[in-house]
Subunit: 356 residues, 2 copies
């Protein structure tokens, strides 16, 4: 089994190195191959998603991705900026289903800015459609405003869109995921304003007919943002579009107070996937050896479970992470008085040692 | 001075009645005229924004709006549903600047789901553009998907757009508001993905040249959603588009835990405005006399300040509200042990009695 390792920028390389260490300690024979991506791809090959990197990702059975982005590349034109790599990979690999668990580890309950009773035991799964919506819709650009009070001025514009088949397949992913959990799906839309999301609501409602054992609720995105703050534990599975999912999944991750702990999976129709931490490249702390590698290590666990058919190995990693937390080891982002502060490498080593 | 009173649906009539009571107690000679809107407009005249209601709103110097929406109207076709009234009023009256303060009253700090140290003293102002963006952009609808893997299927679609002049005028509102506060503006966009919001960022940056005494920061919307949960007090003024503003302003309101307290103003280019509570029509508690009228009463205060040039009267109302809170009076939504539970009317009467 071949795994593409794309460390990227900022803290990407250090956290990915720890996940690789854990993968290598499992006693399996994975073929791991690395390539540059993001700013590193641009620096080495003149493009954030170099052809060789894309070819490797396509050939591999799964992709482990660190993070991309650095101040250094802020002045580049948009098409060359690091984040184009992740957009390109999603589109080229057809990774339409983004799964982001927002889980609060009991040991880290204090890290949340929310009151313990509001978030303790939080365990929600956000499923974000990842290859459609206004992210890729055309036409888009800057043009002359055709009519209305601003006619003749320049205007920026984009196209939001969802085809029936795109909505159906992500709805199936959500209902099936809910069957392995609490059997409740909240579909988040803005059907009261947007044609795209009235259509979304109609199709999700139709797909739901095949899943009568799962409860379906529709919620407007503004209300969903409120309910995430007010009573996040009421959710089980949230399914939504690319744009709303971008916003809500980050808000949900932050509820836990420990975004350095949260993995994510982006899957295609055949469960091939790209796995990455939910946090970014944090260039301000890059190279200091203080970044939390656990989100990336847990992303590797998701990879084993979803793409490589190695659920027991995934369990081993997840149990090892729970063990190091119980031992009181903490990187600075989750440090609290009374626990033991460790660096990136030490944390990686501790997980390796905790593997049963 | 003529004020249009549009009570609407659900708790709208009861809360608006309290605000009218307070207005009448000020000793000014306002001309108040009411009309049906939302579901009530549909029930009385077959349309959520009846012609007479629109004409009244246009003729008035300001509009005091309750809330619209009720389960009863959920099955109507979109064009006849209650929320079309508020969209129509915004567009027809050119109310492009939505001002929503998110303030935590010290007495109500316990109502927030966030830890007191994270939200105590919270005072941010969200300025949402209200007549552009994907809310009104054309074309929109359901069509046959023209190309790509879903060609030939149905797809829902909408157009996001902002013309230069639309961005300029809302940026001016934000910078000018910041000058009366802490002189910091965070412009929220998604410039890394959307052409509309790269253009937004460019224009806001340009307008900022006229306000070098105000600090400008650009932030992606996903990050803004996170920072609102992580460290909301770091913001002063947030300015953003219609869609992102819808989501972020509701999230910010919920941070305070007392959305029943938060007013809003929607202004045109000449400071004529529509004023409404930040919360909705809450049909589940309508008619029970338990709704919190303070957001509507505070909206009336905003109306006096922004549209009617009566800042001292606005102060009188705001001080009276502070007094009733200090007296320990609470509607059920903000009730805590040790305070005095009152109903909608009692709360309105208490504010009238507290006017100095
Ligand atoms: C970097 C950016 C393009 C990306 C997105 O908006 O999808 C990121 O925010 C994410 O959520 O992975
Ligand atoms: C009712 C709805 C159309 C409206 C909006 O999305 O603008 C509401 O959510 C608001 O924020 O006033």
């Amino acid at each position: 089994m071949k795994i593409a390792i794309l460390p990227g920028d900022g803290i990407g390389p250090e956290i990915t190195a720890q996940a690789v260490k854990v993968l290598n300690a499992l006693g399996e024979s994975f073929e791991l191959e690395s390539a540059e991506v993001g700013g590193a791809g641009y620096a080495a090959h003149g493009h954030p998603l170099p052809q060789g990197t894309l070819a490797l990702a396509k050939a591999a059975d799964a992709v482990l991705f660190g993070a991309v982005g650095d101040y250094k590349y802020d002045a580049l034109e948009r098409a060359l900026r690091p984040e184009q790599a992740i957009l390109g990979l999603r589109k080229e690999l057809g990774l339409f289903a983004n799964l982001r668990p927002a889980i609060l580890y009991p040991e880290l309950a204090g890290a949340s800015t929310l009151k313990p009773e509001v978030v303790s035991g939080l365990d929600i799964l956000i499923i974000r459609e990842l290859t459609g919506d206004i992210y890729f819709g055309k036409p888009r650009g800057v043009r002359e405003c055709p009519d209305g009070p601003f006619a003749g001025q320049r205007e920026g514009f984009d196209t939001m869109r969802y085809a029936e088949g795109e909505i159906r397949r992500i709805a199936h992913v959500a209902f099936q995921a809910a069957r392995k959990r609490d059997r409740r799906v909240t579909s988040v839309d803005k059907a009261n304003v947007l044609e795209t999301f009235q259509f979304w609501r109609d199709i999700v409602t139709d797909v739901h007919k095949e899943y009568q054992d799962v409860e379906l609720e529709h919620m407007y995105v503004d209300n969903a943002a409120m309910q995430l703050v007010r009573a996040p534990k009421k959710f089980d599975v949230i399914v939504t579009g690319n744009m709303f999912g971008d916003i809500l999944s980050d808000a949900a991750a932050m509820l836990t107070g420990s975004i350095g702990m949260l993995p994510s999976a982006s899957l295609d129709a055949n469960n091939k996937g790209l796995y990455e931490p939910s946090h970014g490249s944090a260039p301000d702390i890059a190279g200091k050896g203080v970044a939390n590698p656990l989100a990336t290590i847990l992303s590797a666990a998701m990879m084993l479970r979803f793409s490589l058919g190695k659920a027991e190995q995934a369990d081993r990693i997840e149990n090892a992470v729970k063990k190091v937390l119980a031992q009181g080891l903490r990187t600075p982002d989750i440090y609290e008085e009374g626990t033991t502060r460790v660096g990136t490498e030490q944390m990686g080593d501790a997980v390796v040692n905790a593997l049963d």
